[in-house]
């Protein structure tokens, strides 16, 4: 079962919340023992910005197991407002909207459905911002 791994990461999956190194600013999904960038041991809770711009994307038409129902779907590289780059599924777009560094915003969606009996895994995806201009 993947439940403990999913549950430990819900803060990040649900609202991009994690831990920022007090010394160098590196963002970690979970609270590490030492900063992976500078070795510091001091961290503060932080949330990444929920909007940014789309840098590039690819459409997945032959999905891995468990994602068949969602195909075709898009994976985008997004630059958040603070400069952090993040990979995310894109949702609720018309394909002709995915261009010109379109403004995107995080939404809360179903990411994986484990059959009829397993848990529903939720998490962030990005969609074209409602206020795009």
């Amino acid at each position: 079962m993947r439940i403990p791994g999913y549950w430990r990461n819900t803060q990040f999956f649900y609202r991009l919340a994690g831990w920022k190194c007090v010394h160098c600013g590196a963002f970690h999904h979970y609270k590490p023992v030492v900063c992976k960038r500078c070795g510091s041991r001091e961290f503060a809770q932080a949330e990444l910005p929920s909007s940014g711009k789309l840098i590039t994307y690819t459409i997945v038409r032959s999905p891995p197991r468990g994602f068949e129902l969602f195909a075709p779907y898009a994976i985008g590289l997004i630059e958040l407002e603070d400069g952090t780059r993040i990979l995310s599924q894109l949702t609720d777009f018309k394909e002709n909207e995915l261009k010109d560094e379109i403004k995107v915003e995080a939404v809360f969606r179903r990411v994986r459905i484990n059959g009829d009996q397993g848990i529903i895994e939720y998490g962030y995806k990005f969609r074209p911002a409602l206020r795009r201009s």
Partner: protein, 349 residues
């Protein structure tokens, strides 16, 4: 009628998914001419959306407007008849997603289309008793209509969320009074193993919708209640366009007081979110001092009626999140085969 005084709306949010299907397109498949249908199109949840995800989106907008620390929200009631889990509360998912976790109370409510307004009544009581400081009441549904059934043309998806707390000078609106009316009336139901609801066709009108809505509303207007000219907007549950119009006519309410809260023609019947989204649309445009009468209806059957007075806080809060009209206008049309995929009607092997 119960004077509630002291309970206020601090944040509100309405969410409508981006996808729409026209009644005409559904009619094309079933050989029905729906070109003149009053419900022109309905909102359809995307393939990765459910009542929990839409509840979160509406709650996030409510939180942006409330400008409070989400950790102060200690009760989250989600009313829905399409909750993603039969057992496991939706409210705890919402709490984690908006940063309110750990919260205290988070049960799911079901009362057909009035579960969301009943959540407001419960939260208001918890606030008045001093048990909680802030509470979040949500109505969210991905409503299902059996393929080919009359409900398929209107059963839609959406969510509305309200953060309530004690009345202070920052509040958006005060909930002044509440009344409710419920009886055992089998007009619409769904057994546990069935995916689609059953309904008693014409029986849903007179003894069900009209009797209960009027039962709740008249108690607000009578016994030491309010006069029609003290109320600026009327929002009724809108399973279609006709029913709220008939109630308004019976009560002698002008069309101008009804239309700002009537959106079923553009989004369909969003069940637990239905009358609440009408309220959101009114909050998006009302002025301080104005009064709104909200009356929900849930089959089975019952109605909650509230009187809500807009306060000065509306000015600085309203634009902290998108208005409902923006979500109504931002749409992607889908055809019936895409609709079947989104509703998970295509069997994957």
């Amino acid at each position: 009628m119960v004077k509630l005084g002291g309970v206020a709306v601090h944040g509100y949010g309405g969410y409508i998914p981006r996808y729409r299907i026209k009644a005409e397109e559904i009619g094309r498949v079933w050989g029905q001419d729906k070109s003149g249908s009053p419900v022109v199109e309905k909102a359809v949840a995307g393939i990765d959306e459910d009542a929990a995800t839409m509840a979160v989106e509406a709650a996030r907008m409510a939180l942006r407007r409330a400008m409070i620390d989400p950790k102060k929200i200690s009760a989250i009631y989600v009313g829905s008849e399409s909750k993603p889990y039969a057992v496991k509360p939706t409210g705890t998912i919402v709490a984690e997603a908006i940063g309110a976790s750990p919260t205290k109370l988070a049960a799911d409510l079901e009362f057909a289309c009035k579960a969301g307004s009943e959540a407001i009544a419960i939260i208001a009581g918890l606030i008045r008793s001093g048990q909680i400081e802030y509470g979040l009441a949500i109505g969210a549904d991905t409503a299902q209509g059996r393929p080919g059934d009359a409900l398929e043309y209107t059963a839609a998806s959406g969510a509305a969320a309200f953060i309530l707390g004690r009345l202070d000078d920052r509040a958006i609106a005060e909930i002044e009074a509440w009344s409710a009316y419920a009886t055992d009336t089998p007009d619409f139901w769904r057994r546990p193993s069935d995916k689609y609801p059953m309904h008693a066709a014409r029986f849903t009108g007179e003894p069900a919708y009209f009797r209960h809505i009027l039962g709740a509303v008249q108690s607000l207007l009578e016994d030491d209640g309010y006069a029609l000219n003290e109320i600026d907007y009327f929002v009724f549950h809108q399973p279609n366009v006709k029913f709220p119009l008939v109630v308004a006519k019976y009560l002698k309410v002008d069309q101008e007081k009804l239309s700002p809260g009537l959106i079923a023609n553009l989004v369909g019947n969003t069940y637990s979110a239905c009358s609440l989204l009408g309220l959101v649309n009114v909050l998006d445009q009302a002025q301080p001092g104005q009064r709104i009468l909200l009356a929900s209806y849930g089959s089975g059957a019952g109605s909650d009626a509230f009187l809500i007075r807009i306060l000065d806080g509306i000015f600085e809060r309203r634009d902290l999140a998108p208005r409902l009209a923006e979500l109504i206008e931002d749409k992607i049309y889908i055809d019936y085969s895409m609709y079947l995929k989104f509703r998970e009607e295509i069997i994957m092997r």
